[in-house]
Symmetry: C2
Subunit: 149 residues, 2 copies
DNA sequence: AAAATTCCAAGTAAATTGCTCAGAATTCAT
DNA sequence: ATGAATTCTGAGCAATTTACTTGGAATTTT
């Protein structure tokens, strides 16, 4: 039940864009350096984020990526589902695949998978990039901030 | 973010034991037949379930497995965590591994991983095998039961 | 024209998953 | 006592997935 690096790197990178909102495009190599991720791997992630309409690209020198919307309009769920696919513990409760399970016992477990799925999605859909920015600013002002650098 | 077959098969198999509670040991090959799973693979899962104290084994002919406790004392969380390891979206919030992340940005995402982890565990810890038995009996009495066989 | 960037398509090594295979140990039934 | 039924143990392995790398084309700014 682990997220892959796609979801983790992707959320970090999107948060990085949110930190730079309003300051022009951010190049992937600067994100790659800060987060210690390969540029080419980030390219793959941003290809998907762009196709999903979460970021806009500006090509050429001094180009890069910007958020396609305000931080309060982009949720963690949008980002992670784009990169990881549906957040569901089993295929049978992944909404985008409509194959229904035909066994009785599956149905007893199915309600469990649905509850897990819904709880995960409720959490990630309730958090926006703006919430993360707010948390980050609070962290910076707190006494414990040092420990996290 | 998918469970592996370990968690899925294991929960099914434990529910199977719960259905047969009080009727002597259930042999793995009978579970394997009902659930269409390889006996040898089930053996591996039950080896872990036994070591975790969730089932008791009775060796020899007419042997098999029984639940180590009443169905209302065994949660879905107990079963799935035994077979899948900690239910956490990232390593950095898996409680049994104490390596702390040292980067500032990780902490903004960390609180998100913690919320996901806690929501999953709250769900699975709130459901016992007895709850599943109750659900199953309700399903059997309902009009729609036919559709699930 | 050169540099900086995004964009695109393959390839690939390592890890994980989902088993299979082989056989020993134990217990029950006859 | 023997044979059948079962758990127990450990190794092996093919397919899939993951986490990248490689190579280069296209676009834009300076």
């Amino acid at each position: 039940m682990r997220l892959s690096t796609k979801g983790r790197y992707g959320l970090k990178a999107m948060f990085d864009l949110a930190l730079n909102v309003g300051e022009g495009p951010v190049a992937l190599n600067s994100i790659a350096e800060r987060q210690n991720i390969s540029v080419h791997y980030l390219e793959q992630l941003f290809s998907n984020l762009r196709k999903a309409g979460l970021v806009k690209s500006i090509r050429g020198a001094q180009g890069g990526y910007i958020l396609a919307d305000q931080p309060y309009n982009i949720t963690v769920g949008d980002i992670i589902r784009t990169l990881e696919g549906p957040l569901a513990p089993t295929e049978c409760v992944s909404s985008d695949d409509s194959t229904e399970c035909s066994k009785a016992d599956c149905c007893v477990t199915r309600t469990i998978w649905e509850k897990i799925r819904d709880s995960i999605n409720t959490v990630v859909d309730s958090i926006t990039l703006q919430d993360m920015l707010d948390d980050y600013k609070k962290l910076q002002n707190s006494d414990s901030f040092m420990y996290y650098i």
